[in-house]
């Protein structure tokens, strides 16, 4: 009884110290989140409002997407529509080609990960440079993000020091964070200055004004848009919110939930191109409009991509981002993966003890655990149910449906207590891998009751 997730988790946990460190690092972020959430008396009210604004926007998305595009166009922004990842990538490449752009600097965007944009552009000869420090580290290492907000959270500074020695020619053995950050800054400064185009994602798109709002801590989105004259925004349609009143709710929640900060260092609002420049917005559907109509799972569209559900998830913290087969890990990733392709990503559905902590930290009140529970119900019809689990469930059901048989089983269950160890603790008993079995009572409650011994 195992899944790709559980097998990857086993390998992750085999590195005992590293996995403990990973767990503690993320728990520290959860604690920081708590201290800022508890600092606002209106926190729960903000979550409620955020959830309702998202619900409203998503259920009126046709209207708001149109309004957003009209406003952006009125501001002189060129708006593109991409129905899927391929269209998105083609549009971006075409814009770059028209401008004879050879080098693209990017701030962090999970949507471009979703679309595999970098690989596509690189295959077309574009030099793509990630400028978020974590993303840049991963790009130099040629590995994907392990977390949506802190993509390189699983790496230690020594690993980064080694990487920089090789790629950026830093001092041997120096892994001082300030030194490394400075080296990265110098390196990236050159990339910004020589780039032909800058790309950002979007945390929010304000329908009333056509503004794109991008939240970063490093200012790299601003550098990416302030030096090159061409700015391309890649944005999922679910990022649209009605107006600045609603934005005021979300910006108060986002950084507090994500990293335990009152706000990100930079909250940048892009309305139009700089003089002499050009601004493009690529609005991407890629399955989102189908999700609106999905009764059991539409709430995933409320997600702000803050990553709080990952930081609190006891399974994510102890299995790491790469143990999930979808590029977004943790509770939201389990659900988004299933929406992307249930057959391909069903292995992640096991990665949940249904503790419901994610539901409580989510700043948009996405019903994450309920959705995971629902996906489990679908696995059998997708032919993805674990056969052992199905067998056990069938046997248990049979016993539970026949109270007399059930009573008899309880009567004989204590035999297990006396079986030789090798019969009980072997490869077939996953419980026994790290736990002793419970001891069955000689007399069950029911049998004592029947005999009048419960007084």
């Amino acid at each position: 009884m195992s899944t790709k997730h559980s097998r990857a988790a086993r390998l992750f946990l085999a590195q005992k110290e590293d996995s403990q460190w990973h767990n503690q690092s993320l728990w520290y972020v959860r604690e920081k989140r708590d201290s800022f959430a508890m600092g606002l008396p209106e926190w729960e009210e903000l979550r409620r409002l955020s959830s309702e604004i998202k619900r409203h926007t998503i259920t009126h998305l046709d209207k708001y997407v149109e309004q957003f595009a009209q406003q952006a166009e009125a501001n002189g922004v060129i708006v593109h529509w991409a129905k899927d990842a391929q269209e998105h990538n083609n549009i971006v490449y075409d814009i770059l080609k028209q401008h004879q752009a050879k080098k693209l600097v990017k701030s962090k965007s999970m949507l471009t990960e979703e679309c595999h944009l970098n690989d596509y552009l690189i295959s077309k000869g574009i030099d793509v440079v990630e400028t978020d420090l974590g993303e840049r580290i991963l790009q130099l290492m040629k590995i994907p993000p392990a977390h949506i907000v802190m993509p390189a959270i699983h790496l230690k500074r020594q690993q980064v020091g080694k990487l920089f020695e090789e790629k950026l020619h830093t001092e041997k053995g120096n892994s001082d964070p300030t030194y490394l950050a400075h080296a990265a800054r110098l390196h990236l400064r050159n990339e910004f200055m020589t780039a032909d185009a800058g790309m950002t994602g979007a945390n929010f798109g304000v329908a009333a004004t056509g503004d794109v709002v991008v939240c970063t801590n490093e200012g790299n989105a601003d550098m990416s848009t302030s030096l090159p004259k061409l700015h391309i925004v890649s944005m999922g349609i679910e990022k649209i919110i009605p107006n600045y009143d609603s934005l005021s709710v979300f910006v108060r929640l986002l950084a507090r939930s994500a990293t335990g900060q009152p706000s990100t260092t930079y909250t940048s609002h892009f309305r139009k191109a700089r003089p002499g420049g050009e601004m493009h917005i690529v609005l991407v559907d890629n399955g989102r409009s189908d999700i609106i109509g999905n009764e059991g799972h539409w709430e995933t569209l409320k997600c702000l991509r803050c990553g709080a559900c990952m930081n609190t998830c006891p399974v994510y913290r102890r299995s790491g981002g790469y143990s999930y087969t979808y590029f977004i890990p943790g509770p939201i990733g389990i659900n988004l993966g299933m929406l992307r392709s249930p057959k391909e990503y069903s292995d992640n559905v096991s990665a949940c003890s249904l503790c419901c902590s994610c539901d409580n930290v989510c700043p948009a009140k996405v019903n994450l655990s309920e959705q995971i529970y629902r996906w489990r119900q679908d696995l059998d019809s997708l032919h993805k149910a674990n056969q052992m689990k199905k067998f056990i469930s069938n046997r248990l059901t049979y016993i539970y449906n026949h109270p007399k048989l059930y009573r008899m089983c309880l009567k004989f269950a204590p035999i297990i207590n006396h079986l030789p160890r090798f019969m009980v603790y072997n490869g077939l008993n996953a419980w026994g891998e790290g736990r002793e079995l419970p001891t069955f009572a000689k007399h069950s409650f029911g049998s004592m009751w029947k005999k009048g011994k419960v007084k």
Binding site: L354, S357, A441
Partner: protein, 245 residues
């Protein structure tokens, strides 16, 4: 007030003393308690594993067995939460679900309905309280650590009525112990690590006992404690509340 007692399958089989303590406590506090012998399981193990339809006949039987009761009380927050939250959906289109409004975890029942203000027993020990996930986040037995709401704990309120007890709580106060039904065998490595971390946090309080409203979590941590030869003891909250009866 007619009380039905629901003793979940694993409590029945592994921890009958928890059922006995619940019965004694209820009998002491309200008198008559009914225990229908046809009861087995609420259906949660199959449902969480992805086969909730298998819980439908169990839900129907549950409804039938306890139809004459005003309340159905169970010494298991997780099972009570399952009935409360899922039976209405499982019975949709069949008949109106009564159990959802009647089912209560025993701590919830003592605290909210009987509003118990005194208990006869003594328990002069240090206990570390295990705030189990479904008790906290589905039945709201205590304020969840993630929420910015006034802090409370119905279980601590009840335990404080027992003479001599010292109630402690672990760090990461309501983090999951990693049981999760079939999660424990489908994801054994993560589950055991979660349980070990939780166990260590409980032990670090200096308590002699780990106590909680769910024998399932206790059973999980107990399995790990036994394997690791940790001397800490386990006891269900209701056994402490019923001390001296």
């Amino acid at each position: 007030m007619k009380i039905g007692l629901f003793v979940p399958c694993y409590v029945d089989a592994v921890f009958p003393e928890v059922g006995v303590a619940t019965y004694k406590l209820l009998k002491h506090l309200v008198g008559e308690v009914d225990y229908p012998l046809n009861q087995t399981c609420c259906g949660q193990p199959m449902a969480n594993a992805g086969f909730e339809q298998k819980a439908v006949p169990l839900a129907e039987r549950f409804e039938e067995m306890f139809k004459g009761c005003d309340y159905v009380v169970a010494p298991s927050a997780s099972c009570a939460a399952f009935v409360k939250l899922n039976y209405p959906r499982l019975l949709e289109g069949k008949h109106f679900c009564q159990s959802s409004d009647k089912i209560m975890d025993v701590c919830e029942f003592l605290h909210d309905i009987l509003k118990v203000k005194q208990l006869p027993g003594k328990f002069p020990h240090k206990v570390s309280l295990h705030n189990s996930c479904h008790g906290v986040r589905e039945l709201q037995l205590s304020s969840a650590s993630e929420l910015n709401i006034p802090s409370y704990s119905k279980i601590k309120d009840l335990l404080s009525l027992v003479e001599g007890i010292t109630v402690l709580e672990p760090k990461n106060v309501d983090e999951c112990c990693g049981f999760g039904g079939m999660f424990s065998v489908e994801e054994p490595d993560v589950s055991v690590r979660m349980g070990t971390d939780k166990l260590n946090n409980h032990i670090a309080t200096g308590a002699e006992y780990i106590t909680g409203p769910d024998s399932s979590c206790l059973m999980h941590m107990q399995g790990i404690a036994k394997r690791l030869h940790k001397p800490i003891k386990f006891i269900h909250v209701v056994q402490i509340l019923a001390a001296g009866l």
